[in-house]
Structure formats: structure tokens, C-alpha cells
């Protein structure tokens, strides 16, 4: 490992620099592809580039990356035009147009490629590396051309960042404020084609879509800001390029391109799972928190109900008493009681006997208050019958925040009784005139 990360071997330096460069520029450009929901168009462009590369080799007879790039960009652009035409002028749907262009162009590329190979042209070896990438075999000349292209791409994205952001988000609005939307879209598409044409060198035709889209998709889980998305996507591109090169350095039989893609996918999967807020784990935690809140508040409410009936708010209550008040699940009840004692809302007198603390009484009042306020809101504002509101209030009492509670109190005028003529408990006695 240390051998690799000292970068003392010039070849390692070259290859790593190349893959990182390609990965980062594809990720940056790909952020816009992702935001414009054109991931599969990117895939089609990658496939469509192959015949362009082959034709430019057949015409020039050379494998200079700059010549091949020109052919690639022309073919990429042509495929875009054809896709556009098919989906807007015929009854074919967009996905059919993409699929048709992708397979036909790629088929043409394969036909030309095999024909070149069979013709035995001495110079053709290596052309098929476009199919699966040739990260490990990049030359100094390749890197020169790619860094040039990457610099141009970066410069253009930076210069037109705000315009690109706008046309990705709301092209109609962009047009209405007088932006040259068509020309900007043309520019953005050209940049995409360029990024794809160079990126192919790292991962190949089939996997190019991943280099473009996966970093942006992963970044989307971490941030809502487009600037941050671009930075994160570039970082993911860098990381996967770096470790992809490392893997194929330590195990030379391992292909670099597929490993870059697997690493990117791994980053995406991790993001999907652990990202704060949008991640699945965060949502599960939120739901677990909800369940805990509901469990505890229901127990508090049962205490309040028993106390209210007996006119002894902080009386000691047995577990059986709680079960009679409300059909709790056994495990949930035990767990909730433990949690409430720990939070200082309940006293545990002896095993199986509990009472509300002062804090617990306040909290139980709050929950019951919200329940009864919501019942009142349903009958007063939504004209629901009093015998139909209990079940909804059972759920919504846990959702209501202090702000919504304040709004409810204002709207209902600090009411004293709920629809079933039960007293709405306040922490301090209400002043009915307040509004």
C-alpha cells in the first residue's frame, strides 16, 4: 500500500492523475446531467461515441487522442440530435428513443471496430480499450490532452455556473428572464459530450454513465445546495479514482474501470443508508423516535386518565391498573415505564407500582390537552361528529408542536371543555377572554 501512496513510481503518478482527473471532471459535469434527469441520455452518448472514434481512426489512421476526441464529440452530438428528433417528432417515447439510439450507434461502433481489427491494420491495437477503459495504459500524451479538456470543462462550468443552475432547475423561468436558454443548453450538452468522451478512457463505454451520475446521486443525499453537490461529487470522483488505481496497482489482474464504478456505487449505497435526513437510517431513526414518543405519551395519558377519574392526579398506579385503562402491549408498556422513570417523569414506588412526578404530571397534562384540543378542532372547524374524532386525535396529539398548539389555542379561544365535556388541562388556569 505504501508503495502506491508515495507515488514515487512515475507510472503510478501518471495513471492515478489521469483517472482522478477524468473522474472529477465527469462528476462535476454529471451533477448537471443528474439534475436535468438525463442520466440515461448520458449512457446513450457514451455508447454512441464509439463509431465516431472508429471513423476518425479510419480516416486519419492515427490513434492520437485529440483526433479521436473530435470524432467522439461529433458522434456524441449526432446521437443527441437523433434522440431529440425521435422523441419530439415521432410517437416514440423518450426512453425508447434513448434505447434505440444507444443500441444502433453502439452496434455501428462494434461493426466498425471489428472490421478494423479484421483488416489487420498495424496501428489498431488498443482501439478496443474504449469498450472497457484503459486507465492502466494511459500515456503521457493522453494525460496531456485530458488535462487540457478537463481544464476547459472546469473553466466553463465555473464561468456559467449560475446559468447552468437555472436552466437545470427551471428552464421556463430562465427563458422568461431573457437568458439564451437554447445556446446555454447547447453549451452544456457539448460539455457533457466532452466529459463523456474523455471519461470513457477510464471506465469504458458501458460504465461511463456511472462516472457521470453516481457521484452526483450520492452527493444529493448529503446536501440540498448545488454548490456543495458539485464539490462532494468531485470529491467522490477523486476518491473512487484514487482507490480504483490503487486496487489495480496491488492486484494487476483487476480492471481499474469496473473497480472505480463499484467504489462509486459503494459510496452511493453508503450515502443512501447513512446520510443525515435523507438517508434510510436517519428515517428509520426518526420513525423509532416517533414510536418511542407515542409509547411514552400514551402511558402518561393513561396515568392522567386514572388520576382524573379518581380526582387524585399523582396517585400510585399499578401496572394492572394501567392495563385496565388502556390495552397496552406488555413489552411496550414495560419498556415505556422504564424510559419514563429514567426521564424523571415517573416515580417507581415498588415493583409494579408507579406515580407521576411533578414534571410527569405537567407532561401528561400537555398530551391530554393536545388530544382534547384536536378533538375540539375537528368538531368546531371540520364539523365532525363528536363520536368520530377520538381515533384521529389519538394519533395527532403526538404530532402537534408548541407552535401548532399556540395556533390552536388562539383559533379556539383557549377553550375550557372538549367536545365530550371533559376539562382541557392547562398548566396555569386559562383566561378565557384571551385571544
Amino acid at each position: 500500500m505504501s508503495d502506491f501512496f508515495t507515488f514515487s513510481d512515475p507510472n503510478v503518478r501518471l495513471v492515478t492523475a489521469g483517472t482522478i482527473l477524468l473522474g472529477m471532471s465527469a462528476a462535476i459535469v454529471g451533477t448537471f446531467t443528474f439534475l436535468r434527469k438525463r442520466a440515461l441520455v448520458g449512457d446513450a452518448i457514451a455508447h454512441a461515441i464509439l463509431p465516431g472514434v472508429c471513423l476518425s481512426f479510419m480516416i486519419t489512421g492515427e490513434k492520437h487522442p485529440a483526433y479521436l476526441l473530435v470524432g467522439a464529440v461529433i458522434a456524441g452530438w449526432l446521437s443527441l440530435l437523433v434522440m431529440d428528433y425521435l422523441s419530439s417528432r415521432t410517437k416514440l417515447s423518450t426512453d425508447t428513443a434513448i434505447g434505440a439510439v444507444l443500441s444502433v450507434f453502439f452496434g455501428a461502433g462494434i461493426l466498425l471496430l471489428t472490421s478494423i481489427q479484421h483488416s489487420g491494420s498495424a496501428n489498431q491495437a488498443g482501439l478496443d480499450q474504449f469498450l472497457f477503459g484503459k486507465a492502466a495504459a494511459m500515456t503521457r500524451q493522453d494525460i496531456g490532452v485530458f488535462s487540457g479538456v478537463a481544464a476547459v470543462l472546469l473553466g466553463l462550468v465555473l464561468a456559467f455556473f449560475r446559468s447552468f443552475k437555472l436552466i437545470s432547475f427551471d428552464p421556463a423561468f430562465a427563458k422568461s428572464i431573457g437568458l439564451p436558454v437554447r445556446r446555454l443548453e447547447f453549451l452544456l450538452s457539448t460539455i457533457t459530450v466532452l466529459a463523456v468522451a474523455t471519461g470513457i478512457q477510464a471506465v469504458g463505454v458501458v460504465l461511463m454513465a456511472a462516472l457521470l451520475i453516481t457521484p452526483a446521486a450520492a452527493a444529493r443525499f448529503w446536501t440540498d445546495r448545488i454548490q456543495m453537490m458539485v464539490v462532494l461529487a468531485a470529491a467522490f470522483g477523486l476518491l473512487s479514482g484514487l482507490f480504483g488505481s490503487w486496487i489495480s496497482y496491488t492486484a494487476p489482474s483487476m480492471p481499474t474501470g469496473p473497480w472505480i464504478v463499484v467504489l462509486l456505487s459503494l459510496i452511493a449505497v453508503v450515502s443512501v443508508v447513512v446520510a443525515p435526513q435523507r438517508g434510510i437510517w436517519a428515517r428509520l431513526r426518526l420513525q423509532r423516535g416517533n414510536a418511542r414518543k407515542i409509547r411514552q405519551e400514551n402511558i402518561l395519558k393513561a396515568f392522567y386518565g386514572i388520576g382524573e377519574a379518581a380526582d387524585a392526579p399523582v396517585a400510585t398506579v399499578s401496572v394492572d391498573g394501567l392495563r385496565q385503562q388502556r390495552p397496552f402491549e406488555d413489552r411496550a408498556l414495560q419498556l415505556g415505564l422504564r424510559e419514563l422513570v429514567k426521564k424523571g417523569l415517573l416515580h417507581k414506588h415498588k415493583p409494579g407500582d408507579y406515580a407521576l412526578t411533578t414534571k410527569g404530571l405537567q407532561e401528561s397534562r400537555r398530551v391530554v390537552r393536545l388530544h382534547r384540543l384536536w378533538e375540539l378542532y375537528l368538531t368546531e372547524r371540520m364539523n365532525y361528529a363528536a363520536d368520530h374524532v377520538h381515533n384521529t386525535a389519538e394519533a395527532i396529539e403526538h404530532v402537534i408542536t408548541p407552535e401548532v398548539e399556540a395556533a390552536l389555542l388562539r383559533e379556539l379561544g383557549h377553550p375550557i371543555l372538549d367536545p365530550h365535556d371533559a376539562v382541557i388541562p392547562y398548566q396555569t388556569p386559562p383566561k378565557p377572554s384571551a385571544s
Binding site: I98, A210, V262
Partner: protein, 296 residues
């Protein structure tokens, strides 16, 4: 004779793929078909390794499993992770395809598959893979038999399930309302696509599978206005493409799969240009005519 077997193989793949592809494109799921055809690769490699042979059955099971897994994963990213649909498809198939390539490199010695073959197959070798009986009689190439078997299954599915596929494709909400399970028909179609892909994979490669899934049905769609005509035309086009593609490949001396994909594109181009239904002018004319019932 070799030419005959190669063309027959192409036509069989074209027919199987075309029948399924017609429903895929009408469901706007062409790219899901593309994704599945790439994503079954690790399934094939794993099946190879586990069975250490080219037995058809483990391969079909491995592939069908991977195909269904692909649709699950796309659904999962889209529904549960709330990622947009195009990115869900893109991430899923590139990841699985990359895994497949890595597996091939890892077990290069044990797996008789190489990267190029994955993409464009080796249809030219089909005539060499003969089925020889114990008495030494040759029954023709293996792949032809297997592909015929799969085609038979697909024909059965389309004929028996015609109405179910039609109503769940045209109007899934209505189908669900009259009690027809849209989920069942969805997964039936996806499994059929996976199985077909795998069987066709070795002989024609991923790219021709995608071309046959999408291009002939798309061409037929532009040329007809009835579903059963579209299916018949797709089959006819497939055979035509197989024949003309083969001779194009011979003429240029290139990949047969690539040539067939190119000829399918030529037919699509012709349909786009000369279809009696989809020209801008004909459509305008039709809209006018529609306001007057025929015979008045």
C-alpha cells in the same frame, strides 16, 4: 450451412426479444430492459462458477434471479431511497455490470467468458457448438435448440397472456380496478426478459439483445395501429434484420451482432421517414378526418 445456423440464431433471438420488447416500449420501460440485459452478467458468472459448466438450468435461474433483483433494486432506489428514476436505473445496472466484469477477471481461468464476448457475443461460433447424440448423430447447434425452447415459452406466454399483458400495459389503473394483478404481469415480463437475455447473451452479446428488444418493436410501432399487427410485424422485421445483418457483416468483415444492430437502425430510419401514420402531414389530415364519422 454455417450461414443458415447463424441467421437462424439471430432470427430466434430477434423474435424472442421483439415480442417482449413490444410490451416494454409500450410500458415506457425500454431502458429497464437495457438495464436488465447488462445486470444479469454477475448472475451468469456466478452460475458458471457454481455449476462449473454451461448447464442451462443454473444459468437461467441465476439470471432470472439477477433480473428480478435488478427491478427490485431500481424500485428500491426510486421508492424507498427516493432517488429519481433515471439515476436509479443508471446506478443499478452499471454497478451490477461492473461486478460482473470484476468477477470475470477474478476467475478468468474458470470462466469461459471474456469482456468482448459479453458485449457483442460470438454468433460466428454458434455452428461449432453442436449437439451430438450418443450414437454420434449431430442434431445441429446447441444454442439453436435452447433459443427455440425459450422462444416457445415466450410464444406461450404472449398467446395465453395476451389480454393480461395488453390491459396492464394500456391502462394499469383500470386493470387493477377490475381485479387484475399488475404486479404479477410486471414481474412475469421482467423474468422473461432476464431469461431471454441470458440465453441470447453468449451467442449475440448484450448489445444485440438491447437492439432487438427496442428497435424492431419501435419500428413496428411506427408502422401499425393494432397491437397484434405490431407483434407480427416485429417478428417479420426481426427475421429480415437477421438475414440482412448477416450479409452486411460478411460484406464488411465485421461483427455479426454489430451488423444486425446497424440494419435494425436502418429499418427504424426508413419507418421514421416513410411511415404512413407518423408523418406530420398525415397526422394533421387525420385529426381533421376524425371529426367526421366514416360513411357520412
Amino acid at each position: 450451412m454455417n450461414a443458415f445456423w447463424i441467421i437462424l440464431t439471430g432470427a430466434l433471438v430477434a423474435t424472442s426479444c421483439g415480442l417482449l420488447g413490444a410490451f416494454l416500449i409500450l410500458r415506457k420501460m425500454a431502458m429497464v430492459g437495457d438495464a436488465i440485459s447488462h445486470a444479469v452478467l454477475p448472475g451468469i458468472v456466478i452460475a458458471y462458477l457454481l455449476s462449473e459448466s454451461r448447464d442451462v438450468l443454473p444459468m437461467l435461474i441465476g439470471a432470472a434471479a439477477l433480473g428480478v433483483f435488478t427491478t427490485f433494486m431500481i424500485e428500491f432506489l426510486y421508492q424507498k431511497a427516493r432517488l429519481q428514476i433515471d439515476a436509479s436505473i443508471g446506478i443499478t445496472f452499471t454497478w451490477l455490470f461492473a461486478m460482473g466484469i470484476i468477477l470475470i477477471s477474478l476467475y478468468a481461468g474458470q470462466v469461459d467468458l471474456d469482456q468482448d464476448c459479453v458485449l457483442y457475443g460470438e454468433i460466428a461460433y454458434v455452428p461449432l457448438d453442436l449437439w451430438i447424440t450418443e450414437s454420434g448423430r449431430s442434431l445441429g447447434p446447441w444454442p439453436v435448440w435452447i433459443l427455440s425452447g425459450v422462444l416457445l415459452l415466450i410464444l406461450l406466454m404472449v398467446l395465453l397472456g395476451y389480454r393480461g399483458l395488453k390491459v396492464t400495459t394500456f391502462n394499469p389503473e383500470y386493470a387493477a380496478a377490475i381485479g387484475i394483478s399488475t404486479v404479477f404481469w410486471h414481474y412475469l415480463l421482467m423474468s422473461a426478459v432476464s431469461v431471454t437475455t441470458v440465453v441470447a447473451f453468449e451467442s449475440v452479446g448484450a448489445i444485440l439483445v438491447v437492439a432487438f428488444l427496442i428497435v424492431p418493436p419501435a419500428t413496428a410501432y411506427l408502422l401499425t395501429e393494432k397491437l397484434h399487427h405490431m407483434l407480427l410485424l416485429t417478428v417479420g422485421l426481426g427475421i429480415l434484420i437477421a438475414v440482412s445483418g448477416y450479409y452486411l457483416a460478411v460484406w464488411i468483415d465485421g461483427s455479426v451482432a454489430g451488423a444486425m444492430a446497424v440494419t435494425s437502425g436502418v429499418f427504424l430510419l426508413l419507418a421514421v421517414l416513410f411511415s404512413p401514420f407518423s408523418g406530420v402531414l398525415t397526422q394533421r389530415f387525420r385529426q381533421k378526418a376524425a371529426l367526421v364519422p366514416p360513411g357520412e
